[in-house]
């Protein structure tokens, strides 16, 4: 994948925007999201900026770092930083004790929360061509830019309490989102990334949909596949279909931020027991089956309703992938991180 990696430059393409050119009165939001999957470890890290206005002015920025780690159980934090610091070029950010650097060759992510049993220092090198969706309509007047790198190589160290994971060439995923919307707007999304359990396998898959809050209207549904760093399948509309079966009955293992669990005691996660997605493009086709293993909930206060809560389910589990692309079979076991937003 050297040829692909040579074309990638996160510092050129993936810097913090901090504000959108379309400054409006609708709150501005931006986040850099990282997923790391290694034997015995699922790690989700999110550096998140939000502004009450649409302008993202420095005095009006609230930073949050979300770190969720699963070994035999989940641990996690949502750490607020009232004054996140960003460099003028948008390539370096410090959120309290946590940092993210966007470099020519990749990303460095540092999470320092020893009191909560989470410390990580990671470098992530893109191994797949990124794709960007510009100004996707979430809801009327609400737009979100989304750029994603479906596969990265991850090195570094993760300390979770008394356990240390030394990562060498682990697999990762990254996306970066920015735009204008309010939590509680009339939308939900379902999104996932799937990476192979066998690191020698060269594929990566991303699926997403956008629906209204009641999930009665599907605005967008798409599935992408990469092989050897190249995007080899992009399908949308009627070429993608998803089927959810039953209901995952297990309780969320963690609900964050912790005080939100008091205001949202209802734990119904509305997560299926099994989710199957298939996609085709011409003669190419893939199908994946996801069996949720466990989940955590992020409980986000609605910005529209005084007592509204938006629930973001972060669900992990095994995925089977099978298909045929460009005359070649693509198949194998993977691990999926699914994000199911419920309003």
């Amino acid at each position: 994948m050297t040829g692909v990696a040579d074309q990638l430059d996160p510092a050129r393409d993936d810097f913090w925007r901090v504000r959108s050119p379309a400054a409006t009165s609708v709150p501005f939001k931006e986040w850099q999201h990282f997923i790391v999957l290694a034997p015995g470890l699922d790690l989700i890290l999110n550096f998140n900026l939000s502004s009450s206005s649409g302008l993202g002015e420095p005095h009006d920025r609230l930073g949050r770092v979300i770190a969720l780690a699963r070994t035999s159980r989940w641990t996690g934090i949502v750490d607020a930083a009232s004054r996140p610091e960003l460099s003028r070029d948008g390539c370096r950010a410090r959120f309290g004790d946590h940092r993210v650097e966007i470099r020519t060759t990749g990303y460095r992510v540092v999470v320092e929360a020893p009191a909560d049993g989470i410390v990580a220092d990671l470098t992530l090198r893109p191994m797949a061509v990124p794709i960007t969706a510009r100004r996707q309509a979430l809801a009327p007047g609400r737009r979100l830019d989304w750029t994603l790198t479906a596969r990265l190589a991850v090195d570094g160290e993760v300390e979770l309490g008394d356990r240390t994971f030394a990562l060498v060439d682990a697999v990762g995923y990254h996306d970066h989102n920015w735009g204008h919307f309010a939590w509680g707007d009339d939308f939900t999304w379902e999104w996932c990334c799937v990476l192979p359990t066998d690191r020698a396998a060269d594929w990566a898959v991303v699926y997403s949909n956008l629906m209204n809050g009641a999930r009665t209207h599907l605005a967008l549904e798409q599935l992408f596949v990469w092989r050897s760093g190249l995007n080899v399948l992009a399908a949308g509309g009627l070429d993608v279909s998803a089927h959810a079966e039953g209901r995952h009955r297990a309780r969320p293992e963690l609900r964050l931020p912790r005080p939100m669990a008091v205001v949202q005691p209802r734990i119904d996660s509305d997560v299926p027991r099994r989710l199957e997605v298939s996609a085709r493009s011409g003669a190419d086709h893939v199908a994946l089956g996801f069996a949720p293993e466990s989940l955590v909930q992020l409980l986000v206060p609605s910005e529209l309703a005084p007592r509204g809560v938006v629930v973001i389910n972060e669900v992990v589990g095994p995925v089977e992938l099978a298909g045929r692309i460009a005359g070649q079979t693509i198949a194998g076991e993977g691990r999926g991180v699914f994000e199911l937003v419920r309003r």
């Binding site: 912790r258 008091v262 206060p301 005084p306 007592r307």
Partner: protein, 143 residues
């Protein structure tokens, strides 16, 4: 928020006062909603050895001495309050185990529960809410 005595050795009064100040400053819609909810209901709160009253007043919420007219009385301790906000205990479990006691008519208790919900929803929307939670954690360890 008004307070009628020194807060130095009264952690519950100090923390509740700081929380109500934060609500007024950072979540005014919730402060107004809470004032409306408590307009017709004075509540007394006993936390460890502290006793205080909470009532709606002109321009905000007031912490007072316990009111003889209070129709709802809540008894708990700082450790329980922190355990609830740290999600190590549910309100139901706290009531069942006697760590939280709420007295009043069914109707008044429903209004008090409504007020608590508005108060907490406001606090989780305050950027300073995390610092307040850390202060509660420290105070609960000292109590």
């Amino acid at each position: 928020v008004s307070s009628s005595s020194s807060d130095a050795d009264l952690p519950a009064r100090r923390l509740l006062g700081a929380a109500l100040d934060a609500l007024g400053r950072e979540a005014p819609a919730h402060r107004d909603l809470l004032c409306g909810t408590l307009a017709a209901l004075a509540v007394n709160v006993h936390v460890d050895r502290e006793a205080l009253g909470v009532r709606a007043a002109a321009g905000g919420l007031a912490i007072t001495e316990p009111a003889a007219s209070a129709r709802v009385t809540i008894r708990t301790d700082l450790a329980t309050a922190y355990a609830l906000l740290d999600a190590r205990l549910t309100i139901l479990e706290a009531v069942r185990t006697g760590r939280l006691d709420a007295r009043g008519s069914a109707g008044d208790l429903a209004v008090a529960a409504e007020a608590l919900s508005v108060f907490l929803h406001g606090l989780v929307r305050c950027p300073s809410g995390a610092a307040l939670l850390r202060a509660l954690r420290s105070a609960s360890k000292e109590s």
